[in-house]
């Protein structure tokens, strides 16, 4: 039982990551691929934040009468990673818009047929 209590959080996070990963590699629509990338990354963020948690701790902002704080370092890393994620999303979506204009479609199998694939 304690085994499950110790790890259930990580297992669900792994499931979420894989759901996102599956959307990225299986989706045919480019917008959906980007959504999948975001889900994948957000779930990885959850992995980091989970490891920073201390049971009974509080948010790492100094307060009177608090002795146990959660670990601030994963929070910092993930703040950076979220920003990186949104930057990638913006560039990816801009590419999608241009692809739509150039090919008239954003379905992967349709524009693959329009050019000779290499």
């Amino acid at each position: 039982m304690s085994f499950i209590l110790d790890y259930y959080n990580y297992w669900i996070v792994v499931f979420l990551m894989m759901a996102g990963f599956y959307i990225v590699i299986s989706a045919n629509n480019l917008v959906k691929k980007i959504v999948g990338l975001n889900i994948f990354q957000t779930s990885v963020f959850m992995l980091y934040i989970s490891m920073g948690k201390v049971t009974g701790g509080t948010a790492p902002i100094v307060a009177e009468g608090v002795t146990q704080y959660s670990n601030p370092l994963p929070h910092v890393l993930i703040l950076t990673a979220i920003v990186v994620g949104v930057a990638t999303t913006a560039v990816g979506l801009a590419l999608v818009v241009r692809i739509k204009r150039a090919y008239g479609t954003v379905e992967e199998n349709e524009f693959d047929n329009k050019d000779d694939v290499i």
Binding site: L30, L37, T88, A102, I118
Partner: protein, 521 residues
Amino acid sequence: MLEQHLAALPIILPLIAAPIALILGRSVLSWGFATLVSGLAFLLSWQLLSAALSEGVISYAVGGWAPPWGIELRVDAANAFVLLAVTAISTLVLVYSKHSIEKEVKATNHTLFYTAHLLCLAGLSGILITGDAFNLFVFLEISSLATYTLVSLASDRRCLTAAFRYLVMGTIGATFILIGVGLLYMKTGTLNMLDLAERIDLYDSSRTINTGLAFIMVGVSIKLALFPLHMWLPPAYTHAPSAVSAFLASTATKVAVYVMIRFIFTVFGIDHVFVDMGMGIILMVLAVVAIFKCSYMATVQSNVKTVLAYSSVAQIGYMILGLSLVSVSGLMASMIHIFNHALMKGALFMAVGAVFYRVGSVEIKDFAGLGRKMPLTMAAFTIAGLSIIGVPLTVGFVSKWYLVSAALEQDQWLVAAFVLVGSLFAVMYIGRVIEAAYFQKLPESRSSEDIKEVSWLMLVPMWVLVIANIYFGIDTSLTTEAANSASEWLFQTNNMLENKVMEGEVLEGHAIEEKAQEVSS
């Protein structure tokens, strides 16, 4: 002042220059500025390499916070050597790109092009120099975002789908690296690479660490286009503007190879990776398959840029092969090939870009008769092509020589034979282009067109690389010395690491730093 900050400047300089290049606004101004900055970065990395060769390791604590609390920049012979190649190619490509970009990129995007180029350079330098696993991820993303932008700037619509594929694959790779770093951090509580190395050994057979290693390896393999994960590379290099192909083919994947070397040798330790996890044989098989499959693919393409792109994947196979031999000479062959391949591929892509500039297409059939119309360009292509094949007196020969002798050192006859057969394929794919250029007649339809040699601004950087191909092929002292001390250094760290931990000691560098910390606090 300069001495003190030498390690940080190659990152900071292009990083600050990028927004300034954007503010300058005018195409010519930002071109001149970017070239100047890149040249300065080259001089700095030259200084850095000589400092690293004489002093060993240079450590720089950003923000004045001692590692592992702050972010550490760590320069040694290995990364200074790769940095030298990256900044050199960047400078030459920038000189070359002025005309090439005018032809291939919309006029409104020129400033953005140079800004993105500087950002990419800053990202690559950051990846090489940083000593912090998470900081590496941040710089990886800077260079990747700039790269997607650069690839998508071409005028052909296919560059868009190529860039999108690259973006998806690249982001998956980066996320895998993020997962891997997270797992390592979870088990060790630190992000500094040196510190990680010390603490990983405490958990030698931990399943979490091994998974972290696997994820980092797969993520980096995507970034360096190792064989089954290379699918993003050929379209990206084919449809990107020629100057971008020249820059990326000779720098981006090399930096990723270095990241792999760094993680294997200075973080996980060879024993762990090659003996416990059995990665050596996996890497070797993948490398051999990459050499064969992609060299073959290169021989059947009709677009010369695609030929060169597949050839790049095959050449990455050679680098990984040297690495997988797990010996000083094997690693040295890899390091030399990283440097030499940058010289060859840079020159080849520049020559092809020059052809595109005049002819407007790079299909093999369009090369017909160009030997007479563009003699200097095609001569450059031929010499660099001979270098790819591995003809004596070129750098390609030096690389292959060291690789084959490293394989023979371990009695790996089969591997040595594979390397030589790979060269035969190179004869075929380079030969097709040269045959078209020199032995076929210019088609009638083209004879009326005014095809002539490109301007000196494109020829000079191309020929600088070609001469470097020959020079370093004859006088190998600089490259071999640098690569040798780089690989010896990597092996030393690795051994030091394993011995010290066995004796229960801490690594010297950090022990001293920790003492200093105690004193100051």
